[in-house]
């Protein structure tokens, strides 16, 4: 089985999806001729032609708005927003239009659109190339939100997303694009939307993360294991719909939880997880729920190592939670 990085895995998924379904079209800014600023769509226009993979005007609300219309017109659009930081002009189209279409039409219309976008920081991108704003989308019903942390899941989830009858916001941590590598089959396969994955098994502390933070947590969990603290490490993979069973069954076993996300703490998705655990597993808890998150500032350029949770910060939180 070939080893692929995250970009190659996504590219493989898009190739598979475009081969198996001629309704699939891929578009956005710079995705056609150049193959995307990160090369995720490399070679697609050459292989499938300009009607299947094309550059659009520089306009996020136009990209998502036209994607909705293309889906209504019978295509399966895979739209790219060049950076998650620039998705906000399209927020109205995503939250008010795309996510509501099935509901507001009484189930008569649906728009199976995938919106892909690179997210998160760690590349010294400053405020406008670093944000992780998943929480403004997880509060919107009608759209799935996924953020895979490795190439195998990235390919399988992208194929599931393109085959899904519902819209999917597909978040790609750009720091992992070239750094994450895994064995990935060339042929198409699905990783189900809505299923978390346990990466480490242990009875002392439950560590919950997604995206780049999964890699950070792996290091932290391995470091504390040397001190005898064994953790369940859960990669959520999908944020909505949340795999509640995976979270709650682990917390019931360990009684101790550390939630790690790169987004800011205030009303981040970790708050929802903490509330869920407090509502449904309070009596299992042996320690306060702990969050390790980005600080409540705008993503900085020079000082982003302070902003982003790193393995030592996460390891300390795990140790303190284990000893509480």
């Amino acid at each position: 089985m070939p080893v692929m990085n995250y970009i190659q895995a996504l590219n493989s998924a898009l190739n598979n999806a475009m081969e198996e379904d001629e309704r699939v079209v891929v578009f956005g800014e710079d995705v056609g001729r150049m193959g995307g600023v990160f090369r995720v769509t490399d070679g697609l226009q050459k292989r499938f032609g300009e009607k299947r993979c094309f550059d659009t005007p520089l306009c996020e609300q136009g990209i998502v708005g036209s994607a909705i219309g293309m889906a209504i017109g019978g295509l399966r659009p895979v739209a790219e927003i060049q950076f998650m930081d620039y998705i906000l002009p399209a927020y109205d189209q995503i939250a008010n239009e795309l996510a509501t279409l099935r509901y507001r039409s009484g189930g008569q219309y649906a728009a199976p659109v995938v919106v892909r976008t690179p997210c998160c920081g760690g590349i010294h991108g400053g405020h406008y190339h670093s944000q992780s704003t998943e929480a403004i989308f997880t509060s919107v019903p009608g759209i799935h939100v996924v953020m895979p942390s490795d190439p195998y899941d990235a390919k399988g989830l992208l194929i599931s997303a393109i085959r899904s009858e519902d819209p999917v916001l597909f978040l790609e941590p750009k720091k992992l694009y070239r750094s994450a590598k895994a064995e990935v089959p060339e042929s198409p396969y699905e990783v189900p939307i809505g299923k978390a994955k346990r990466l480490r098994e242990g009875e002392h502390v439950t560590v919950i993360a997604w995206g780049v933070m999964v890699k950070v947590c792996e290091k932290a969990v391995d470091a504390v294991a040397e001190k005898g603290i064994r953790c369940d490490l859960i990669d959520l993979r999908t944020l909505t719909p949340l795999d509640e069973e995976a979270v709650l069954s682990s917390v019931e076993k360990t009684g101790r939880v550390v939630i790690v996300h790169e987004a800011r703490r205030n009303t981040g998705y970790g708050a929802e997880l903490a509330a869920l655990i407090a509502e449904r597993a309070l009596l299992s808890l042996e320690a306060p729920i702990r969050r390790v998150t980005g600080f409540d500032v705008h993503c900085p350029f020079t000082l982003d190592p302070y902003f982003l949770p790193d393995p030592p910060r996460v390891a300390l939180a795990i140790e303190e939670t284990a000893r509480f």
């Binding site: 219309g69 293309m70 009484g106 008569q108």
Partner: protein, 373 residues
Amino acid sequence: MTAVQPLQLLSPEGGASVEPPEGLDPERLLSLYRNMVRLRVFDRRALNLQRQGRINFYAPASGQEAAMIGSAAALEPQDVAYPTYRESGVCLQRGMSLRTMADQLFGNARDLVKGRQMPNHWSSREHNIVSISSCIATQIPQAAGTGMAQRFRGENAATICYFGDGATSEGDFHAGLNFAGVFRANTVFFCQNNQWAITVPVTRQTAAPSIAIKASAYGFEGIRIDGNDLLVVYKTVREALEKARSGGGPTLIEALTYRMGPHSTSDDPRRYRTEQEVETWRRRDPIERLQRYLEARGWIDAEQVERIAAEAKEEVDRAISEAEAVGPPEPETLFEDVYARPTPQLERERRELLDLIRRGVVSRVTHTPIRGS
């Protein structure tokens, strides 16, 4: 810069010498006249229903019947329509029954959108009427996208996108027309410039001499027409749709018309416009104009006029009384259609609501929304 004179076939006086455009024989013209009358009767009844407190909102179409009926009459069944919440006439002309339209006003259990949207938000997949959003202009890039899909797939179909003069100020107007121009989408943009966006006049939306002129910035044709002239509306839209279907790209049509009533049941137009202005437009009434023309050509007589009005009233009354008798949707429908299949979270919430109702903590919704409720 002076305002561009709109294209017109039927003058306000009726112009008996004008031949109807291709596609409109006397029989068809009579059926369009009948729908304009049905629309006005429905419109008045709906406004009254709100004033009587029997529905909670309505946005009237009166004054814009020729623009709505004439444009929708030019559509083929395979063409896709993106209306706004004022396009009752488009729904009617595309074949939606008055009863289905009334069901939506009440938001009852038979409503095609399952009581999920305020009055005026009709949608019917069967009639290629896409779901309406209350947001202004959001449908414009979507209609561009549907026209792009029709072009990519080589379909003999076009998309018509309705919006008002206020919508041309939104970013989505620019986004949609720009995409449609770049990709030569099979989309016809039909702007009903009815002079007012709630209380704000069109002169506050743009300093340009017309809305039609904006099309040139997107690389396609813009046409300004008399929107109260059924013949010119039908002819212009039909030609633009044919051009779109045959790969000729998009067109922007600006139909000059006037909203005779309020924006919605929530405002009083006497507070922002003069009676003199309203009177000027009343003399350009689209239904009277068509009626004078049909009479002058000998295609309708006084008895038919009377019969059409009486039948419309009876039909509308029946549709409304039938719709009013239907109760609200069942509580479990609240959780349908969020996704193709309910998530585990939605299943749990559904059980939670039904349990709360069963225990009497939450009262069952027993009637459809009425004014002030």
